[in-house]
Amino acid sequence: MRLKGNNSILIGLRVSIASVLMLICLCPFAYGQKEKKDLPPRAISVSPEYTGVVVPQGEDVNIDLIVSNDGREDEDIDLTVTLIPKGWKAWVKTYNFGVTGVHLNSDTKKSLILRAQPDKDVAPGDYTFEIKGQTRDRKLTSTSQVIIKVEEKKDGKRPEGVNIITSYPVLTGPTDAKFEFSVEVENKSDKDGIFNLVAQGPENWDINFKPAYEDKFISSLRLKAGQSQTMAVEVRPNPWARPGQYPILVKISSPKAEGQVALTVMLTGTFKLEAGTANGLLSLSAIRGEQANISFYVKNNGSAPLAEVKFISFQPENWKVKFNPDTIEMLAPQELKQVEVSITPAGQALVGDYSVGLRVESGTPPKADKTIEMRVSVTASAAWGWIGIGLIVFVMAGLVFLFSRLGRR
């Protein structure tokens, strides 16, 4: 299992993002209600939510830090991490930025985060951090300690924020195909979260996210803590895209975590053959036993070149169907070639309409094919008719001769 992305995890109670937000929102109300209370003139406190945490080796640590002004005056409080064990980096931050000072009105609290980042070589053991809050006039100081106990890492059990994986990161297909990557998203954190879905792909490609087995497009995904869900990434390449490899980066992110997975589409190009006659007529008449010619075009309507274009015909027994040329070595995309076909019905064929199928296919086994059906009207030769008419004329001439020779008696 390959994991990518930010390894930071919230430590402590499994509190959902929503709960955190609620906590923040409630603060002003609490202040309003306590206004009449008896408060000391000045009092501040800086206290971590947890004073001792246990983390696996190499894991970043975030600990909520509650800074409160319990006095009647508003205070500006400077925050410093006064004690940082060797090999660690630590600072105070909110979600967005680092914090060195905070302004607190009377009887308010602010929730901040103490972030501790160990170096890779930080050994298991207890590490003590000290955070000091001091009013601007240095009269009041509040110090608190956090002990982080680093445990030896146990494989696989490392809890992470969000995990996005796919079993088939590379799909191959023709340009006009629809590629569907099946992606599994797992919320590994202990908080529920809403995850945004973003994909980066080549220009003019159509990339959409779909829940598994559902036909709608989504752009975000809500996952409960520890839940995993399969979804599909549907990719429709630009129809004019050249064959080749195209990377697609799918990113999933929530405010607290993000993950990404690289997908690859291998375009083989489309294999599409088009065949027909110039005027659209698919019928011809042929005298039995005599060759009739018609020409049709073959067009590569796909985006990949077609090699070995062959012609196959379906015709009645004893008929001859010949193609000229009988194969086309290579047909580039959008290329048009004219093919002469000569159809010779059997000499004994009955007159009437026959169906003759002309099939064009490329490659073995065929990658693309197209069959056109020709209606061949077999007619009998009128040559004998002229002989017959000649015979009649001859007989008539004989009669006329008789008339002229004997008629005047």
């Binding site: 009645p316 004994q348 169906s355 007619t379 009128a382 008719g385 007989v395 009669l399 004997l406």
Partner: protein
């Protein structure tokens, strides 16, 4: 020309008023009428099922009713009309002494034979046209099928072929009436030849075919042998004007008929691919198929007449 016209007029009057002709005409008209009636009844019952047929009108002529179709009937008994019109044309006049009297009038000698032949052809034409019109009218009234342009053309060609066919027998009987002095001889000879050409040839064809290409029924039959047998049979049969006529007429009347052969060898592909489009033949193609038949019919008719003409013109008046 006035001699030709006088003979023609007189002969036509004779034909149309003679009892034997009127009786035969009535008989043929009646039978063909009944035949078409049967065809019409048959059609009316089946026309719904025959939705694919494109030429319902022609079926009046080509559908076998009780026993024959109209076409078959003309093929069998049309010759009798021709024979009856001509078997005593010349020798009766010779015996009763009117021939020499007529010939001594200021006319050319061929006016007599031409007039007689033309009068016969005219009688045949009138008869056939009448029958076809009656049946057509009947079809219009009873079945309610209206002929299309192509159907009318086909009927017209059918009429022409029929006229030539019957005229052939007319020419033949006139020839016999020239060759034989006795009416009895000429009539017997005509009828004998009719029976031979119409009925015995088909028997003979079978005998010839079975001799040349025998079908061994005990062993496995090769399709080629059957085909060869059928081919020989058809070749020999074609020497019968009746076969020539019925092949030609049936093909003209029935646009779905694509060959005159009775057996054809067809590969599975051929069968499949030709069944794809079940189109009737165009009139032109129907004609081309039986063109040799039509030409042969016209040729034997003309040749028969030419021989009659020649013999008559060169014959001594007295003998």
């Amino acid at each position: 020309m006035q001699g030709l016209y006088a003979v023609f007029k007189k002969e036509l009057q004779d034909h149309l008023s003679s009892y034997r002709f009127v009786i035969l005409f009535a008989l043929i008209a009646m039978v063909s009428f009944i035949t078409s009636y049967m065809a019409a009844v048959h059609m009316r019952g089946n026309l719904e099922g025959l939705a694919s047929t494109k030429f319902p009108f022609l079926m009046l002529f080509s559908t076998p009713g009780a026993m024959f179709s109209m076409v078959q009937f003309v093929a069998f008994f049309g010759p009798l009309i021709g024979l009856i019109l001509g078997f005593d044309a010349i020798n009766r006049e010779r015996t009763q002494g009117t021939l020499i009297k007529v010939l001594s009038q200021p006319i050319y000698r061929d006016a007599v034979i031409n007039g007689k032949f033309l009068a016969g052809v005219m009688t045949i034409t009138v008869m056939l046209v009448a029958i076809v019109l009656v049946i057509s009218g009947f079809g219009l009234a009873f079945v309610g099928v209206v002929p299309g342009v192509e159907e009318i053309w086909r009927l017209f060609i059918f009429l022409i072929i029929s006229i030539f066919y019957i005229s052939f027998w007319l020419g033949l009987s006139i020839l016999f009436s020239i060759l034989f002095k006795s009416i009895a001889t000429s009539s017997l000879a005509s009828v004998a030849l009719w029976i031979f050409l119409s009925f015995f040839i088909s028997l003979g064809a079978e005998v010839v075919a079975n001799t040349v290409a025998p079908i061994d029924r005990k062993n496995e039959v090769q399709p080629e042998v059957v085909l060869e047998n059928a081919r020989i049979k058809e070749m020999v049969s074609l020497s019968s004007p009746m076969v020539l006529y019925s092949d030609a007429a049936a093909t003209i009347i029935d646009p779905m008929r694509k060959t005159t052969r009775s057996i054809i060898l067809m590969g599975p592909m051929e069968e499949l691919l030709s069944a794809r489009f079940q189109n009737p033949l165009s009139l032109g193609q129907s004609i081309v198929i039986v063109f040799p038949h039509i030409i042969a019919l016209i040729a034997i008719t003309l040749i028969c007449f030419a021989i009659s003409y020649l013999v008559f013109m060169l014959q001594e008046v007295r003998t």
